[in-house]
Symmetry: C2
Subunit: 267 residues, 2 copies
């Protein structure tokens, strides 16, 4: 808080509100050690500037793609997915061109890449597209195709045709389920075929799947996991799960869900 105390506090309020999705006057008051009046004044000002929306006991973020929207946060395995996304984002080097699949975990990765610079991101998912739509420092290519409403993913001939026109340094795939035997499990054969095509166009392939997805086979369309691919999961994966993959020449990474423990509990 070096330059301007109140200004910095307002920015921090905004950050907290967008991170948490919701922030109460009382929490903020305690967090900054100022009276509720001051917080209220800040909120009034931020609201007048159209930067957040006032609620009864506090304020909420109004934009839908903040650091972690309320909706996202309520998603299951949020911490794990975020840990995986952070590890994956750290792999991406400046100047690279990467391909992002659809899915919530890869969407979280897209969010992490918002701060990247000198990066080209191509994607087959609406989530990633939306996460990066307003980021000027990232060049975004959409592969297009038929939109699957449930998974928010693009599939089909248009997608495959677009894929033939590009190659990538890294591709990050999602999965509905992953087993060491079968590989990636999806609901739809078009999706599995697309994943195979995507991997074929990239120098390095990563599969992002939190531990609960390991060993699961909720559907019946499969794409095999070749040697050399990297499976990124979280640290709650069992040793047996991990061993099954490593024995087959799959590199397994366990992302640790550290980071910020709880964003807004006392200061």
């Amino acid at each position: 808080m070096s330059p301007n105390g109140s200004q910095a506090r307002r920015e921090e309020i905004l950050r907290l509100a967008t991170t948490t999705g919701l922030a109460s006057v009382e929490e903020l008051s305690r967090h900054f050690g100022v009276t509720a009046s001051t917080i209220r004044r800040d909120l009034a000002r931020l609201t007048a500037d159209g930067r957040l929306a006032r609620t009864y006991g506090g304020a909420m973020a109004l934009n839908a793609h903040p650091e972690a929207s309320l909706r996202q946060r309520t998603t299951e395995a949020y911490a794990q997915k975020r840990a995986i996304a952070r590890w994956a984002a750290a792999q991406v080097q400046p100047g690279e061109t990467v391909l992002l699949d659809a899915g919530s975990t890869v969407g979280a990765l897209a969010h992490e890449l918002r701060t990247a610079r000198d990066l080209t991101v191509a994607t087959t998912g609406l989530t990633a597209l939306h996460e990066l739509a307003d980021v000027e420092s990232v060049h975004v290519e959409c592969l297009g195709g038929t939109l699957r409403p449930l998974s928010q993913a693009f599939v089909g001939p248009l997608t495959e045709a677009a894929l033939e026109r590009m190659t990538f340094d890294r591709v990050f795939l999602s999965a509905d389920g992953v087993t060491a035997d079968g590989g990636i499990c999806e609901a739809d054969l078009r999706q599995t075929r697309l994943k195979e095509l995507m991997a074929r166009r990239a120098a390095r392939t990563y599969v992002l799947a939190h531990a609960a997805k390991l060993g699961r086979a909720p559907f019946h369309a499969w794409a095999t996991l070749p040697q050399g691919w990297t499976l990124v999961t979280d640290s709650s994966a069992t040793d047996a799960d991990v061993a099954a993959f490593t024995e087959r020449g799959i590199r397994v990474v366990l992302a640790e869900p550290v980071g910020e423990p709880a964003p807004l509990q006392e200061g």
Copy 2:
């Protein structure tokens, strides 16, 4: 309110809140002819269900793609754009395949098409994509391409390549400016070329532009307006403006911003 009065009222409250973006307890109370207590109870219940967010004097919608988000509503010329969108949506017949450009007015059209059935929508704009992403009754194709951050539009080789694989019953184009002499004015030559290609693939071409855009030339990339195209604008266009277009064989439609006069002022 035939089946269940309170249930229906809550749904209506939700609709009003999402339409208006914001609804006050007092307004709602007057609108339904019930006490503020009842409204408060309704709001508490809807909030508990996570369907809207409570504010001090009322409630606000929390999702970003409702009938008309707060953001949209604050957009200039909202009523005009909506009137244009409604007229355009009424042209679309069941079973057709239509192409939607980027832009806020066309985005409003996409919103109107949410209730359509047996319809295929292809688009070069992220706005339309997002409007229709969760609608199961509409088949959505994204043409893909490079995402222009400012206009949320796809342009470039991928988009053009995808266009070559489809034709359309109707295409709805947007414009940064429209003049009778020059035609459609845009910031970028890639955009104007794309619009020409789009029109070439469609049986009928509509240009959606509210009256304030007529005669304006904010940039310097142009696409001519051939005879047979339809320019859809709002009723605030001057006779001179309209005449300039009709003299050149352009059909001009003036959409009347009627519908709901003011969604929530007394009932």
